[in-house]
Symmetry: C2
């Protein structure tokens, strides 16, 4: 297997020394880029972008053409799996995802089948192969899925309803049925991640967007247990290279020790968690990815640089840090500010300027 | 000063041994009680209830007539302070608070004045005096306020907008102006809490409902700093009795050590934080209040009892636990289920049944 021109992302994951701290950003390909908005308008819908490998690949590479990022992440969506299960996904401008056929009965859940990624999600795999060809091993490519709990939440609610009435009612009223749903989702997620690995991604990330709404016991029972199931069933290597797993639970800072025990290799850290605390708590078990507040990108270049310095300093000089935001790039951000962030991470980490 | 018939709430706060773990619940007086809904309908508006001492006092005592609770909490609202500052508070059924005059300019902030509680919030103080008379020292009465950051968030947004666009823009665009606002709010909150103490409450609680949205650094700068200012200016005793301070930051489980260093005496613990972890982290510095998931109240009596046993067991046999929910009682809860919870806390803690 050929080496990457820039492998600092993978080196940091395996906690090897790097010259400069690697950096990528959640939603680095997205609405803050005018070239993305132009494609989005041409395509007509978000799902059209996801389902057309040429467009998904082009969007994946857009931020890399602008900034010296250390990793690419496939442009896609965590809800492609429920879409492949027949729920009919669409996105209304400014309103988030909506399912035409949300889960409304025991029968709806009973008839769900694990999708065959090579058939039902072939467009994702084609986008990966095309992206890898175009990337030409400049930097690694990250694939991803949502956690079973997060997918279940969207599928039961039918849309992004942040008070989660239906999934909470299901959890309380019929936990056995919910476990049936989570089980089929865990199998679907591991199958899809394995297909992504075979199609060529160099790392995978599991987004547990809604795990943070659960209490500690339920987080372990309904979310983390199934994340562990997924990780247990993943290919640990492909074509001779180990495939690392990044786990991110939004609002999960209090559960880092539990998350680190799932078998993942990197923990995504959100803005509410102190990076130094996180490192002390999980020790050398895993690398850490994070955790600059995305809102900082709306401030001045000077303040962005200062905030980058502070984040680097919070982690300290040890190996095992992948710089990222605590959540996605906001759409109002100026691309020039992203350039300031990426350059600051590289420059300041190379100089190892203490705060 | 006369003793309470039941002082287990205060004993637990001072980490003295108790026969039974004391219990009260956030929103224990509220919509889940038919007698509350009847009064609410008669009064016509939520603010009418708050502003009529006889009604506020009656509502405060309603749950105590039903359940052997170990503390009462005044029926009121954290937004009475902004209302007293001229923002014009109202509540639309099912939609939460709305201000007729939200803060929209530097001028709006510059002209804010610290209210004089004895004049501008006299109805709260009258409700306290009346409630204490009716309570006849059965159990202690808790007063409360919102944190300066939480009040600022509502006042700048104008309503409960959970994506917080305006306060985030202010924090980034004009932090100095935001500090001006937080400063006047800190003074207003400590003045109002002190007035509540002089009117007779036996403990005060600070609700930092929206602190959890901030990153760790900003939480300290914009929320915790002003909470500390408030606590520093509070009367530490009244008529010979010390007045304890309870601090609750929703989503603040990762900051317990910081919160415990504010000078408060009790930390409210949310459902996302493990009670045993919390105790190990803050040690004997403060008592802990929490943290059963309110959703459990929608389950069966057997499961409520099992969950209570688990929560008691998570804290363990040490003194210093006040049983509560991780947030407020949901309106769909059956009053009979609340009875099950309160009885279970008392029975199981007295027997000290291990899990």
């Amino acid at each position: 297997m050929r080496a990457f021109k820039n492998d600092s992302f993978l080196r940091a994951i395996w906690r090897q020394p790097v010259v400069k701290t690697p950096v990528w950003m959640m939603r680095q390909a997205g609405r803050y880029l005018p070239e993305y908005r132009a494609l989005r308008q041409k395509a007509g819908s978000f799902m059209q972008l996801c389902k057309t490998p040429e467009l998904a690949s082009e969007i994946t590479l857009q931020p890399l053409a602008r900034f010296p990022l250390d990793a690419a992440i496939l442009f896609s969506d965590i809800l492609t799996i429920p879409d492949a299960m027949g729920l009919g996904l669409s996105f209304k401008e400014g309103e988030g995802p909506i399912f035409a056929h949300p889960l409304r009965s025991e029968h709806d859940i009973a008839r769900l089948r694990v999708p065959t990624p090579e058939v039902d999600l072939a467009y994702v795999l084609d986008a990966i192969r095309l992206t890898q060809k175009n990337l030409a091993r400049q930097v690694p490519l990250i694939g991803f899925c949502g956690s079973p709990w997060t997918l279940a939440t969207y599928m039961v609610e039918g849309c992004a309803n942040k008070s989660f009435p239906r999934i909470q009612a299901l959890r309380q009223g019929d936990p056995k049925l919910l476990h049936t749903l989570l089980d089929v989702l865990a199998k679907s997620v591991s199958a899809h991640l394995n297909a992504q690995i075979r199609a060529g991604v160099n790392a995978v990330m599991i987004f547990d967007t809604w795990g943070g709404m659960l209490n500690t016991a339920d987080y372990q029972i309904f979310s983390l247990y199934y994340v562990k199931q997924v990780i247990t069933h993943l290919l640990t290597q492909h074509e001779g290279s180990p495939i690392p797993v990044i786990l991110f639970t939004k609002g999960g800072g209090q559960w880092l020790e539990l998350m680190a025990a799932t078998g993942c290799h990197v923990l995504g850290i959100d803005c509410q968690t102190d990076l130094n605390d996180a490192r002390l708590r999980v020790g050398d078990k895993v690398a850490l990815q994070g955790n600059l507040d995305p809102a900082i990108l709306l401030e001045s270049p000077e303040r962005i640089r200062a905030a980058v310095a502070k984040t680097l300093s919070a982690f300290g000089k040890k190996p095992g840090h992948i710089f990222n935001l605590g959540h996605g790039v906001p759409q109002q951000v100026l691309p020039e500010h992203v350039a300031v962030l990426v350059d600051a991470v590289h420059e300041l980490s190379e100089k190892q300027i203490p705060l």
